[in-house]
Symmetry: C2
């Protein structure tokens, strides 16, 4: 078997599948191309057969995490909660989507869905508001996800308990209502 | 000279000084205790003479980055811009402050200053609003800082140019005004 044949044993989708399950195990900081290749039992160079760079692979993972939000209905708050929950589905999901978004890579299902919801609610300036909402959701979710992970290892300070989590949900709803900026969104709870 | 004497050649402040300048050179992902120790010409174990963990050292850096905001006056928007600019002072500054904040480590100069500014503006619910503002500022600044760094290496997509940067400033101001929630803050530009 030539190396080319060996590297194409896996297709783009199966590489992404493995990378996503490895993300859950080791976290974003330790998700290296070397480690993904080892899990697939191929050389790291074989991965570049399917993805031109690690950033392109991470963008694909980001798209998968937000794929369920493609054709979203509902009001801004309900949608924002679904985005947050999608980011929480995989370890470091929020940080990964934030990074891909910073690089302008991957699609923007979540942001487009927010913009649509803002238009349905007659909000002013849907495009800028959708970006501001994404920045808030990504900042909030990254922070909460890091705290939850630290809690599970006993690394966070004792102040971060159940009360803190309830407080964070309240802060999230307040932030979304304020950024959505329409009377209709504000009255939704 | 005993190892103890050798390790105390540096005090807590000088270790933090070196770590902060190294952060600027290598970024947060590569800021290891090993690397900081090498720069100081000591063994990594000597650093634990001054900081009980890497997280405690990062919390000290986070405090330094936000120290200038301790006794801040001005309205919410002016203060929010000063916080953003402080985060931009060091490479990955926003990500570092976000992580320390997630762990409940370090002080919270910036959040306290926001809470004071919200009270001066007669905003509803200053404590929750201050947290929501911090999550927005940290999410926005982390994203913008990663994009700027990628731009300097040519790694971002071509859509992220000068226009994108101007758009991001507009999004920041919109987000802060909405989250500040008072008529007074909204009218400030």
């Amino acid at each position: 078997m030539t190396p080319e044949h060996d590297s194409s044993r896996h297709d783009r989708a199966s590489v992404a599948d493995v990378a996503l399950s490895l993300l859950d195990e080791v976290g974003l900081a330790d998700l290296s191309m070397r480690r993904i290749a080892a899990r697939l039992d191929v050389q790291p160079s074989a991965l570049y057969w399917h993805f031109s760079s690690k950033q392109e692979l991470l963008a694909e993972l980001s798209d998968r995490i937000t794929a369920s939000l493609r054709a979203a209905d509902g009001d801004v708050l309900a949608l924002a909660r679904r985005i947050r929950d999608a980011l929480f589905t995989y370890r470091d999901g929020a940080e990964l989507v934030l990074s891909s978004s910073a690089l302008g890579l991957g699609s923007s299902h979540a942001q487009s869905a927010l913009e649509d919801a803002l238009r349905r609610a007659d909000a002013d300036d849907p495009p800028d508001r959708a970006v501001a909402l994404m920045h808030f959701i990504l900042g909030h979710a990254t922070l909460v996800q890091q705290r939850m992970h630290a809690d599970s290892y006993g690394a966070a300070s004792p102040t971060a308990g159940d009360d803190a989590t309830a407080g964070l949900d309240r802060v999230f709803d307040l932030g979304i209502a304020a950024l959505a900026g329409s009377a209709r969104s504000r009255s939704v709870s």
